[in-house]
Amino acid sequence: MNLSQIELSWIKHSIFGLMKIISENCSGVIGILVLSTFLSISFLPPILAQPTVGSDSSNLQMERAKDIVLELVYDDQNQPQYYSSEIFTQVCETGECKPVRIRLNWDLLGNYLNYAMPKGSILTKMDHIPFNATDYQKFASILNDRYSVLEDFNLSQLKGPKEKATVQEIDGITGATPKSIENAIVPGAVYTCYTIWHLAHVSIKDTILEKSQLLRNEEILYHFIDHENSDYQRWAIDNIFQFFRHSQQLVDQVLHLFQSDKVFLKKHILQQIPDSLLAQRSIQNLLWPQYPGLSYSLQLILLRRYSDIPVDQEVKDLLESYRSQSNQEQLSLFQLIRTSH
């Protein structure tokens, strides 16, 4: 998918829905900023993707993604909460399938959250038969399966040889459903399932991640560093180490996490912290006294990170006191650190 082709509208949609930001994303940066009060999302006409008949399936996907309108929803603390999009799309190449109108929601890192049917919209199967409750239930579980086999198919593979087609297997147009995806679709709605699943999990994720990079500022990072979602915390840590390593306050905030009992977050910090920070005396004085209380795997990461970074004499002395509880591998790393300059 060519991100530069993606046209996005951003709506800062607080609970009162007051602000709208439209960006024309020709070069991957926000181009135009329009503040418009009292303009809610309903004023944005959904765009119907019009794929070229006969285009191959990857082009079709690209066309669909191109016309997605993403909205950023804020919580009542005015913090970004999730992305949402009401999508109106064709689901098959020929235009014979009934177009689908559906709302999809993603978290701020592009992970699919859930879907909702806009008022008056329904999903249909072959011959335009409406989904029943069981179909909707299955559809929800299909979308929730991040690792669906649908990921590995392109649209052209959804059709088998025509002579194998049966009424039960088709989705409004001729073509048999490959056996291999029968469990991953609602019977009679293969194109709908395929198209919406790809929109939920594949086509949009990178776009959202890119957009989230544009949200990056100190306020957001402070908000994320203590977020209950550990993915957000990792995102914040990565961004602080990459772009805000000179911000003492933000770095301190990260290192504060190192005092917690979150072993996996501590591991992430030790793996991602730049050498330039590890070389700082204040950070050495903070990390090394905690060494005995770390799990073995974290001890090894710390030792390896410092194996080619000069450490203070105080740290070297401290390491000596840890020798007695160490195994061969640790001792060899001690030796490397002791002889580093």
């Binding site: 690792y147 590995d152 291999s180 029968e182 469990n183 009992d261 996996f264 073995y296 195994n327 640790q330």
Partner: protein, 600 residues
């Protein structure tokens, strides 16, 4: 043990070169095992079975043996063991006691790998009977391979695998050609579903068959030792004759990791085999060597996993049902391991580049609820869990799996099993000590010490099944007889697990890619370059992707049934497995069709 003692005396008295000044005691040959278990799984890598103190955190009972010392003096003690979790120091501490004059602990050194550890000196008296005791301290899988005593204080037992192997054989008196177990038409190596079905099927064709299994029970992954249920369907068969033996052996579906091991039907399987005329069952024998002539196997040599006695199995035909393709590998059969590239196979599910990725190995486990609270110790040496990530469950299922190319499923099979242990114990310790509201009354009842391995070598046949056979893109082959129904089920590390344990994942996810029922060709079931070698089970001739579908046990069993028929024809017509395909395919077709063959 009478046998064992006599062999010890043999060492002591019949080999005067060694008897006077050195003693080798294989731990697995201890007269009383106490709570220690024999583990032969890694024989091909480390050259021996060993004793494992698998007490799930409760020390196991002492293993005890006695021997008569021919000549007294100061002996230097060496113990071959391994700190299996040197992170930084493992929990497998145990003591060796010799008489009432010696005690020293081993197993928790922080060093990696199997090693001979220097146990210092012990003074033994002339012509006295001395007791040797292995005393476990923790129940956390301490292990002992062998104990060696020597009066040569400058000698250190060999570490190099090849040297050690020969040295060990010499001290055990195994230097000579082993005695023959008999003369067979077909020797089947491996007593899992595939091997058991192969042996039964061939014996019912009137062949004289030996079934050699390296565990005390039959069934392999479907045994009470591993507890994986039988999957794949037998009711879609184009050739319903196949699947009948699978039905006989099938003891119902207890699911995976059922607390009641009996439900997996070890006894049923063994009884069916024992009642079968023409079929000789050899349990507890690990086949580890072959003798070949030209491109054919002449004999297979197997060693008892407890007594270390060896037997030799000559036969006209062999069937490699070992899972690892061990016999084929030893004989020089062409094989593959890992994933082929998309360019090589034309499979859409193959990776762009070939690599070493394989599916992994599971050690299943389960718990029970007790009347009163139970405790489980902290496990600093195990994997670490926290509220950020842990597995909130009281039993395992198939997802508990280590491998994925992080470890080689043959050369690092022990590391894989031990990694599974560290995941299980670490997670359970977290649940017990941090989630006591939910798990306070739970007790860890069972953790399989035998790994359920999914994938390793695939021996190449005249036909290599691939994804397009499974999905019907390729026309059905004239020798397509074994109907397979399971999805292409290729596991990969669960992404959440990967996020927290990258490079050491132990929890799997999968995609079930449905297949049309398809038929595995007979040509996948014999080696393309070893003239008298069949195979059945997970080590048949497929690509990695197709293996994802063929590997389930009912399907593997039916492969074995087909091999049994083909072996019957091969013996009847004095031809090779390939000769059956080339010259007797119609006859084979009739057999699996259940119709009488009429010569055209």
């Amino acid at each position: 043990m009478r046998l064992y003692l006599s062999s010890l005396y043999f060492i002591l008295w019949q080999l005067p070169l060694f008897a006077q000044d050195q003693i080798l005691i294989e731990a697995e040959s201890f007269e009383e095992k106490g709570g220690w278990l024999i583990d032969q799984q890694f024989f091909d890598i480390m050259g021996s079975s060993y004793l494992l103190a698998h007490g799930l955190g409760t020390p196991v009972g002492d293993a005890i043996t006695k021997l008569k010392v021919a000549e007294g003096g100061d002996y230097h003690v060496w113990v071959r063991t391994k700190d299996w979790a040197p992170f930084p120091v493992g929990p497998g501490k145990f003591s060796l006691l010799i008489g009432d004059v010696y005690e020293k602990s081993f197993g928790a050194t922080g060093q990696t790998g199997w090693q001979w550890y220097d146990g210092g000196l012990v003074k033994l008296q002339n012509q006295t009977e001395v007791g040797f005791i292995l005393k476990d301290f923790t129940g956390f899988d301490g292990r002992c391979d062998a104990i060696y005593l020597t009066r040569d204080h400058t000698f250190k037992p060999p570490h190099d695998q090849g040297v050690l192997h020969n040295w060990r054989k010499e001290l055990l008196g195994l230097g000579r050609v082993p005695k023959d177990a008999g003369i067979f038409d077909l020797v089947v190596i491996g007593g899992g579903m595939a091997g058991t079905c192969t042996a039964l099927s061939a014996a019912r064709q009137g062949l004289k068959v030996a079934l050699v299994q390296n565990r005390p029970v039959l069934g392999g992954n479907n045994s009470s030792e591993i507890r994986v249920h039988l999957m794949g369907r037998t009711d879609q068969n184009d050739f319903p004759v196949l699947g009948r033996i699978v039905h006989e052996l099938d003891n119902g579906d207890p699911g995976n990791a059922n607390p009641d091991g009996k439900r997996y039907g070890d006894e049923r399987k063994e009884q069916i085999v024992r009642l079968q005329p023409n079929l000789s069952l050899y349990l507890n024998l690990h086949a580890y060597a072959v003798e070949t002539e030209g491109n054919e196997i002449r004999t297979v040599i197997a060693r008892n996993i407890e007594t270390n006695e060896e037997l030799r199995f000559p036969a006209r035909l062999f069937a490699d049902c070992t899972g690892d393709g061990t016999i084929g590998y030893l004989a020089g059969a062409d094989y593959r391991m890992g994933r082929e590239s998309k360019a090589e196979t034309g499979e859409t599910y193959a990776p762009d580049e070939a690599d070493d990725f394989t599916l992994g190995t599971s050690n299943l486990w389960h718990t029970s609820i007790q009347d009163s609270p139970t405790s489980f110790p902290e496990t600093a040496w195990a994997l670490t869990f926290s509220d950020e990530y842990y597995l909130d469950t009281d039993k395992a299922d198939w997802q508990w799996e280590t491998g994925y190319g992080n470890f080689n499923t043959i050369t690092q099979a022990e590391e894989i099993r031990d990694h599974n242990f560290r995941a299980i114990y670490g997670n359970w310790s977290f649940l017990k000590n941090n989630k006591s509201d939910k798990y306070g009354h739970h007790k860890l009842d069972w953790v399989a010490h035998i790994g359920g391995k999914r994938e390793s070598r695939r021996l190449m046949g005249d036909y290599i099944l691939n994804q397009n056979d499974c999905t019907g893109e390729i026309e059905r082959q004239p020798d397509g007889f074994v109907t397979a129904t399971w999805t292409i089920d290729l596991h990969f590390p669960d992404p959440e697990n990967q996020k927290y344990f990258e490079g050491e994942e132990f929890f799997a996810a999968t995609k079930h890619i449905r297949v049309a029922p398809y038929n595995i060709p007979y040509r996948c079931l014999y080696s393309r370059n070893i003239g008298n070698l069949f195979m059945a089970g997970r080590n048949i001739s497929t690509t990695h992707v197709a293996f994802g579908s063929t590997r389930v046990m009912k399907t593997c069993g039916m492969m074995g049934e087909l091999v049994g028929f083909a072996a019957g024809l091969a013996i009847q017509h004095n031809t090779s497995p390939r000769g059956v395909y080339e010259n007797h395919l119609n006859e084979l077709t009739s057999m699996v069709s259940g119709v009488k063959y009429s010569r055209p």
